[in-house]
Point group: D2
Chain length 423, copies 4
């Protein structure tokens, strides 16, 4: 676990935050039936019920078990059922079989949550030791990550249902007309990236360190559906020159001709969203593209994906605002804002950076050290958060990561270019 | 559909039978939550909700659509969702994805059942044409097959849950001590098999025809767990001499060392049942063995599996009694009965007969002709019904069939031998 | 091993036959390079070099090891490398890796053959015991089976080579115009099938036993390419009504739209043969169809495949003549013969009979008992031999068998029909 | 193609170099039979015959076709058969089926080589344009890469043969005793990496650019078999703390407990080499470890893998000497040299750097632009060359790359550490 400095957070503030985050998770499952919460649509995705149980298991295992007097687990079996990948903790239920767990029922898992919440409240109500406070903050950040996964995993499940159900009934708001794409110049030079200061951060954001950047340009906003449709219309999916070799093989194996949630509807192109299937809006950012698609689009557009250092250097001075999950509109919007827009929220932005340790990186001690470090291979970094991310979960140094073929996240594209003759 | 003679059945009797069979299906799902009913544990098995919908679709599609005035489907989408394999009917939802259908909800599928039941009642209440009556009888037999699958499919799902849930809370009754295994002689000669008479039968039981049987012996009862354990203890799973080549490969690929629902428990050998995990009872019939295991056991025992003609010739004179699903004890019992016992109920009996058309066989006309004929390859015939079969669904000429590797049905072993020097 | 009666064969005749069969095998590989002999094109097929070694291993292991004074194996490693599937003999090299054996070289395997042949000659030159004579006859029949496989396996390998090489340079002779298809009637009744008399037979042809046949008709000749092309043109590959369910899935998985060696050539339809790619000749028998295709064609034609008993009952009275591999034209010809033609040679004829033990069947004692019995599941019987079979290897009771999806053998179609109102 | 400056190379020198490199390739196949040269042991590896043809195809396609008067291909079919991955060139034979090409024969491919060599000689004999000279140099470097693959691919093939054949009969020389492992310090700061100067380089080595390095240490030599055995003995393959999550899954899937060419011999631990199976020598460098194994070892040793920039910064000042394939001992040796040893030759050194474009990278124009850029995903960089690399093929800026699970190359481990409190 990161040695974050959370001592400044008053006990009552932490308890309040605990309650707010935990309630938010349950609120996200309210549009769902017990059946919706139980099924697993692919090995990469987990049932909502499992997310509800696993986030609870995290608090019970890493905090209550060590710091509660007379600790007794709520249910012995849950210790294995809701362990995700912490090999150091012992046995775990196989990931691809999470969807077979019709028992425990959703209602029993909600009991589990209430039980652990009551015990956590007690623990947080009197002066909790720093270790408890720090682990609680970690647990809440962990839970926020699963809030996002609840949304993306249910979207994947519903996308495979011929009824194409909507997660929320509310219609998507009309979209703004995006500003024309402009290029913002950065001089490069020695820059510092990584987390600085007092607030919470994951271990993978540290240590803050210096990097050397060549002069570069970043696009002013995300690539839109309309721009991506132009790429398709220009034969982008049929021309190997634009594709990484692995991506070209992936295209062939999947028979993919467009982003995974685009649909051919009776009345024209449509897009499957958490608000149901809607006409494809050319103004909104393209999302659910994988790394191969993002990279191919960039190549076709005569540009490239940014590195994560370029992105962070540009984003760090900007205020963290944008379209996050708090809006309860679970689909990205177009922006007409001028300047360097949409850096935060709307869509995770693929970078060309392989997920790797920062120079001098040390994983957190103990089993929570399994949180990040062991995934540092064959994954690519995404930055900025999405419309499924809680706003207070985001920061400039935040590193998300997924394999190159992953497309069930709200992942989009911001272009970059080398800036010649400068620097 | 078979040109069965159901005209004798009075309209009111048919309506009553319709209601009874349909109610029984719903009753079988009462111990299950909506979550239990939604999940698919493997491509071969279907969710209980799907069984509930598909059996209803059968009546709506094959009867109401053709015979109801002003027919309108309950829900257009269900026509694809609940089509199983009738290629002649049009598109169908892919079998391995039946478990992704969290929508429609269980409650909506129960609405579907009620709606179709009310319409079927109306149709059956006045003098329905022969075609309706015949298709109704077929639909009810079809539904009874799915009643059995509801039980075997939920058993498979629960078997994969680390909580090892019980389908019913009631304990299994104590088992009798089985009579010693005896051999019953049959002279062979020309015999007739296949369905005769007026009642319902599937097309695959016809035409009744003559076969030539060599003299043979049948064991007096099913092979027990204890006898099967002796086979294992004697190294049966490690000696290729007992196994068909395909079976030997299957063993290796599965890492199988015992029947699929046997368990090593903390307090000795156990068996997973619909009543939960129970100590392995050496007296009860061994069940959930596949064809390869049944054949290997027989070879080890110096015997063989019967042909389906041998079985039917022996079983036809016997009254159809035994331990069926009506008992609500969903696991086979030992029998202390003398004579040729357990032919019906308790466990389906593997025969050595490949599932093939009888000489002169003609499939039923129309799409219901897809019911049986197209499965006549790479499957083996089982006879007699099981503890999961409704009693009034069974008859001597009934032909069940599964691939050689299938073990999630209540399939057991009755031995046969050649009877030399006679005939 | 079958308890065949070979005592009448004079020692010198046996030695001569040994030499003839063994030489024939090597002669079959003469058009092939060492490279051609080394490669394995799929797990079902074996390299010619492996066939050369394995047939030699058979004599060394089952005869020399038991009957040669001072036996010492030619090479210890060959005992594992060239064991095919005899689990009773010990370890074996994995079947799918036979093509990795670039060592031993072809020339070393030919040395092995010469060495074993010299030792066998010595053994056969003086009065060999009956066991040796019987096993030698079995070994020669075994070798003849592998002669056929050498041809079909090299055909499969060459079919995958973009150069489409010919195994023999000689052109195929012009084809006769086939007689119109006629139906031959058989009254049915009790008939005897299985091997009778003194000559060699495999254990699976025994015991000769009585079967009861309903009246039936057999087509006068094999189905032709032209007739099969009509089936395709009529949409046969796109209409599920003609296909077994497994076959329909197989079609989809393979993307198959025509028999596996048919080609679209620049100048029209072509067929890949051992004489190279040639224009598709509508008069020749269709070959390399699998069971699913044979069955679907028959259904489309309003007919069915014969049972093996029907086939043998019709074929037994006929002289064993026809187009065998001795002709060195390795592709079936059309026949203009009247009567029940082409029963032997040209193409193996799929029957609808699952490969199963005859009533009263007992496998041969010892490891050669693994020869046949253990394959009696999930395979279908073919009868009559093909243009790749040695003429003196064939007889009416001969049972060949392959899985339903196999199409790399010279397998064709003879139609049958029920004969109603007779018998 | 890289815009390399090869104009200084005199025409005669280039022709001589062409002859030398081309001859060397054929010489490498001399210990091999035609059978050895034909077989493909896995999709990642290619037959030696294919390497011989493909390197020739490169010259014919990229040089002769564009620059030879009256160009006519040696054989039309070879244009597809020997295309590797150049999608821009048109169709290509599927990679996993390269081993099915028993035709063309080895002897015909050698004819192809002689034919192209004669034509290339003519082209190079008079003043060839710069484009020809540059492409020729590229083609020779390409050929040297395939020389290395000929060795590693035949090693893989032979490793799967139960006879464990040796590629060369000559015994491996006795090994020196390695010097104790020491750490060499580097101050870090801004450094330049990438190719500088006039000689040949691939496009992926450019542009030369500045990087910022933190202070670090490099181990003085490669990790030895003995050191790696200590890791295994300490339970390294059973402890998830040392492994990347993907690596841990890979271990389980492969059942891997030691490097892929280590063997349990009758007389103790052995290692399969191109000189046959030899006793495991604790002094020699460990080779044929994949990235996961290299990374896990480093973690266990309290160190890490170097970045490619760290490696190049340390290696660039060193002379390029070491144990290369020119020695004809095709296995790495221990070194007793003091200082920073074994940077070049012996074994490719895994770095922790994902294979990515350098800042400002531009692929070569035209189809040879497919040479490198499109592989820049999911691969890791290796540096320094191995005992299978030609000495004159190596340089400090050379970037080799393989997926994390690849272990059939001569890949080894050099450790690195952060240097704290300096810089």
């Amino acid at each position: 676990m990161p040695a974050s400095k959370v001592s400044a957070v008053a006990a009552s503030a932490l308890a309040a935050r605990y309650a707010a985050v935990r309630d938010r998770t349950v609120a996200l499952t309210e549009p769902l039936s017990a059946e919706d919460c139980c099924v697993q649509s692919m090995p990469d995705a987990s049932p909502a019920k499992w997310h509800l149980g696993h986030t609870t298991w995290f608090f019970e295992t890493f905090i209550l078990e060590r710091h509660e007097n007379g600790f007794k687990p709520f249910a012995e079996a849950f210790r294995i059922l809701f362990n995700s990948y912490y090999n150091g903790i012992g046995e775990k239920h196989p990931r691809p079989q999470r969807g077979l767990l019709t028992r425990p029922s959703l209602s029993r898992v909600l009991d589990y949550r209430r039980n652990v919440d009551a015990r956590m409240e007690r623990l947080l109500s009197h002066a909790a030791p720093a270790a408890v406070r720090e682990l609680t903050v970690l647990g809440l950040n962990h839970e926020q990550q699963h809030q996002e996964l609840i949304l993306t995993d249910i979207k994947h499940l519903f996308s495979l249902n011929p009824l194409q159900p909507a997660y929320v009934d509310a219609a998507i708001e009309d979209s703004a007309t995006p500003a024309a794409l402009a290029w913002h110049d950065f001089d490069g030079g020695v820059a510092a990236i990584g987390h600085a200061g007092e607030g919470f951060r994951y271990d993978n954001e540290t240590p803050r360190h210096q990097v050397l950047l060549a002069p570069y340009q970043l696009a002013s906003r995300l690539v839109t559906n309309g721009e991506y449709r132009d790429f398709i219309a220009a034969g982008g999916y049929a021309d190997p020159r634009f594709w990484l070799a692995d991506g070209w093989d992936w295209l062939a194996a999947q028979g993919r001709r467009q982003p995974c949630y685009w649909r051919e509807g009776a009345s024209g192109a449509a897009e499957f969203t958490l608000h149901g299937a809607v006409p494809l809006d050319p103004h909104r950012p393209v999302v659910h593209v994988c790394y191969y698609e993002a990279d191919a689009f960039a190549r076709w557009a005569g540009a490239r994906l940014p590195t994560e250092a370029e992105w962070e250097h540009a984003a760090a001075p900007q205020p963290i605002g944008g379209h996050f999950s708090d809006s309860r509109q679970f689909h990205p919007s177009a922006t007409s804002a001028a300047g360097l827009a949409q850096l935060y929220g709307d869509a995770w932005e693929w970078t060309q950076s392989s997920y790797a340790p920062y120079p001098g990186f040390r994983p957190a001690d103990g089993v929570v050290g399994e949180y990040n470090a062991k995934f540092m291979v064959n994954q690519y970094v995404l930055r900025g958060g999405s419309c499924a991310t809680p706003a207070d979960h985001m920061r400039a140094s935040y590193r998300n990561f997924f394999p190159a073929a992953a497309c069930w996240q709200f992942s989009g594209i911001r272009l970059a270019r080398d800036l010649m003759g400068r620097g």
